[in-house]
Symmetry: C2
Subunit: 112 residues, 2 copies
DNA sequence: CAAATATACATAAGAATCTTAGGTATTGAA
DNA sequence: TTCAATACCTAAGATTCTTATGTATATTTG
């Protein structure tokens, strides 16, 4: 079955960590907006994917939460812990390597 | 739980189609070898992932099979159907777009 | 002002894709 | 003759995502 929206292909965690390494704190809804904006609408980060991932990263000690109230509405701001900063660098390195490897596999003409 | 081996991240189908678009016919075991070789051993295409994917592509009419016997051992050679050739181009385009989008999201410095 | 859209969080079912762990059998090398 | 390589295969379970909900507040628009 074909998927209609482009996949994140296992890169969601890396995206979150990277964005948070460039911004002191961000909240979930904000992250979905920024990803859509930066990809000109082609990457749809669904909330059903994002929120569970944020909770997992928090449970793993990579993110910490602070709640802010805007009027009657509340935001959960996430920021990187020390461990999260380390992991952010690690994950970005891995993803870069993956892209490099994929390009090697996909671009090279094979002689039969 | 961390994964030890790099993921294929949903790109396996694309890899198969691309390799077959450059080689008239290939068999499963051969594909696992070539992917390892081209990625200098960093991408491990497990057989548990590959064979079911080949069967799916065949069932979807993108690949066709011809069996060759080498002594007492038999190989199942796969090659692209017409539909498979079309899809191969399509999938490669998609993956390239994905890489481009990811780079936009991951490289850009955000101003807060 | 009412209705629709945007903001902001969340979960749960199911699909898709992969790893891990087996299994069978032949061939070649040590 | 035993081990590694070749060559196929499947099944259980994990992970990651989509799709579909649900709740509630705030803002825009007709």
């Amino acid at each position: 079955m074909q998927q209609k929206n482009p996949l994140l292909k296992g890169s969601l965690i890396t995206i979150i960590l990277k964005l948070l390494s460039e911004n002191d704190k961000m909240y979930g809804y904000e992250i979905t907006r920024i990803v859509q904006e930066l990809s000109q609408g082609s990457l749809k980060l669904t909330e059903g994917a994002l929120y569970p991932s944020l909770h997992k990263l928090e449970a793993d000690g990579l993110l910490e939460v602070s709640i802010e109230n805007i009027g009657n509405r509340s935001r959960k701001y996430y920021s990187l812990t020390k461990k999260g900063k380390k992991e952010s660098v690690e994950k970005l390195k891995e993803l870069n390597q993956f892209f490099t490897q994929m390009q090697q596999v996909l671009n090279l003409k094979l002689s039969v």
